[in-house]
Structures are given as structure tokens and as C-alpha cells.
Amino acid sequence: MLKDVAIIGGGQAGFQTANALRQFGYQGRISLIHEETKLPYQRPPLSKSYVLGKTEAESLAFRPAKFYSDQRIELVEVAAEGIDRINRRVLLSNGKTISYDHLVLATGAHNRALAVPGSQSAGVLSLRNLGDADEIRERLKTSRHAVVVGAGFIGLEFAAVAASLGLGVRVLEMADRVMSRALSREMSQFFAKEHDEWDVRIDFGQSLKAIESGPSGVTAAIRADGERIPADLIVYGVGVIPNTKLAEEAGLDIQNGIKVDSHLLTSDPAISAAGDCCSFVAPNGESIRLESVQNAIDQATAIAARLVGRAAPYDAVPWFWSDQGPIKLQIAGLSTGYDTAVAVGSDADKSFSAILFRNEQLVAVESVNRAGDFMAARKLLGRQTSLSPREAAKPDFDLRAYEQATR
């Protein structure tokens, strides 16, 4: 019988694993090993209300300290250094060990570094942790010109924040459109226009070559084509790398993250993985790694369910959101490989959705200020739907009504 669960990582997935285990009635020991010496906390507000100073650190915690003592979840605020799979124990950096019957790896990911000369200058910052957000918040107080490297979600959320504070903002993006990894062309176009309206200038097909600095830190960003952009703050968001070191050193299979099967089990039956750190087998057989709050929560919950005896293949519908300025983007499903997009609503009214299909199958819906479409899409993607591009393209097509009518 399961008596001892250890979790490495105190982010969304690590916290949720511990939380779900208790909610599902698991009574044994839970050790939540996390190296950040604060209560486990949520990240999304860091790039939005937190850097704006509208939210305080205390309100970011998933639960107050009392929760962990009430629920008998041991918070071990030390870094894990190694996994001894033979003896089933985690080796900590303080020399102690934590034994386990089952181990859950929720080690997350870390920001890819900016590998250009001058990237060590003060005022060149990335955003992942509370500490990063604090540095950015501080620097924003005296900055006038920000350069953002990477027009992904983090970069653009920050760009919107900086623009709203009156900074001049310039974004450097290597691709020919924004959020190119996750978004349809149609939605990228909408966001590029929005940012333009907020005076965020985006340079496409451009990359950073070097950073100039002076006594108070960064003074300019130098583009690959030589153009010099004055800047007193550079925020970069150029992707993350899954934290696989512990797993790799322990001999677990690694492939675009810690490799898990459709039940979120690694190559060791006593070890599972969840969240940003793991690549899993989706219901369609593809191996993917998702970087989202929903993925961390649902995977952690699925692992906890399996540990209390309710195993099932993991098939949660992915969803995601991003707040940029007054615009709320919500995405249900994954747009990868879409071949047809049907737009509904009005982008002039800032309320529209892109309904995305691949081989006539609904794969994702991206919605801007249309929460109803988003929620309807989540329901449709969670069941077999025969919604076709032709149906969606009919005038006055209403995704919400369609979902209700086809229940």
C-alpha cells in the first residue's frame, strides 16, 4: 500500500499533486520538495498584475502556510540533488534523504538564456519566478525605453504592461508573426494590430546581436542588422527548457522533457512526471509537451487519481489564456497543424474567434473577449463533434448555440 509519496517541485504541478492526493483521501506521507524558499505560488499574475504593482506576493500563494500543516503536507525547502532509484530515495543538497514508494517529478522548466554579448548587464531580465518579477517591477520604476526580445506570450504580456506605464516599447521577433508557436496566423494578425494601437512596435524577422551597457546597466539593444535601439530595460522571453537533469542523471528516458506514457508514468514504474517538465503521449498518439497552468493541474490530478487506484489514460482538453492590455485571449485545444480557419464575430468589435480545423476535424478555438465561444469549444473538444468548417462558416454561426444543440 502506498505510504510515502515524494514530489520534487513546488510549482503548479507539484502543489496540485499534493493537494489532489489529500482531496482523494490519500492518508500517507507527502513530502513536497521545493528549492524556492517561499510557499508554492502561482505564476500567471507575475507578468500581469504583479509587475504592475496591483497584486502583492502574499496573494500569489496557492494556499497559506496553515494549509500544509492541516493537510500534513511536508514542505521541504531544500534542493533535490539526485534520485536513488534502487533504494527509492531522493538525495537532498543538505545531505538528507527522503524515501518514497512513489515519486512525482514536477521540476518545471527554466528560461532559455540570451546568449549575446552584454546579456549579463543590469536591466536585462527574464521572467519566470517571483524574484524575476520583483527585479522587473523595480526596474520599471525608472525605465523609459524597454526592448522585449521574443514576441511570445510572456514578451507580449510584458510589452502591454510596459506600454500601459508609458514606456516606449520595441519588440524583436525572429519569426514573421507574433506568438507563432501557439497561434493561428489569423489571431497573430489581430494581436499585431492591437499592439500597434498600444504603440508597441514589433520588428519581425529581427534578432538581437548584442547589448550595450553603461554604469547603470543596459543602454541599448543592437539588432542583428546593426540598428541600435536605446533601452534601459530589456526583457527576454525566448522559450523555456524543461528541467530534466535529475531525471536524466537517474537514467530515466528523456525526449523533449522527461518522457512519460499516456498514464504519465516515466520509464520507472515508481516515478511519474507532470507539467512543464514532461512530454507525454496525447490521445492521438503524438508526443507533446505543454507549458500551461491547465496542463500542470490536470496532469497532477491524474497522477494523484492513479495513485489512489483510479488509473485512466490522460485525455484532458488543453486550454490556455493570456491577458494583454484589455484583451483576454483564451484558447481551447491545440492549433498545431491546422489547415482551415473560420473567423466568427468581429475583430473591429474586439470580440471574435478563430475556429481551427485539421482534415475537417475541429482542433482548436482561439477567442478574444468571447468567453462563451471558449467554454463551448472546451466542451466540444471533450467529446466527438462533427462540426465542419462549412457549418462554422455559415452566416450567424453561433458556437455556443451549436454546442448546446448538440449535447
Binding site: Q23, Q42, P45, K48, I297, K328, R370, A371, G372
Partner: protein, 105 residues
Amino acid sequence: MKITVYDEVGEKVDLQDEPSKSLMQAIRDAGLNIAAQCGGEASCGTCHVYISEDWSSKVNPPSDTEEAMLDFVDERRENSRLSCQIALTDELDGLEVTLAPGSAF
């Protein structure tokens, strides 16, 4: 301020909290089982509660986004609200709410 929360099995819990949080945060911080997956950003619908009749008109009204999300929560009723969108104020001292099904994960 005092808030009374009835959970999914009808158990009553009294919270004492400061009026600086959202209702969702007060419920969450009291250790009650509320999913609130998106952490309070009106993006998931899993902080769904029913506000007691006496209090419905006293809480801040829902935005368009919240209305749209509420259309899709399990068992929506007249007095359904997303608790992350309800700001606690001194006037709400004594507030009574019930956790809706589906707001426990």
C-alpha cells in the same frame, strides 16, 4: 468580516477574513476545496458559487466576461457567480455563499 460558506455536502464553515481579498481568495485561504484553476483571472469557471438571496444585490455585478463564463458552469442558477470576481468589502460582513458542484475539482 465574517463569511459563511456551505460546501458541497452542506457543511457550514465560518470564515473570518479581511475585506482586501476576492471571495475566492477568502474561500481558498480558509483551506476549503475550491478548484479556481486559473487563480482568479475569470478564465476557467471553477470558482463557481451560489450567493444567498439576501446578498445577491449587494455584491458587485458581473462583467460581460463573467456572464459568458457563467453560461457554461455546471448547474447555473439565478444566484450563480464566479467568486474570483467578487470583491469583499465591509458591507459584505455576514455574506453567505454555497460552493457549486464543479468548483471542487
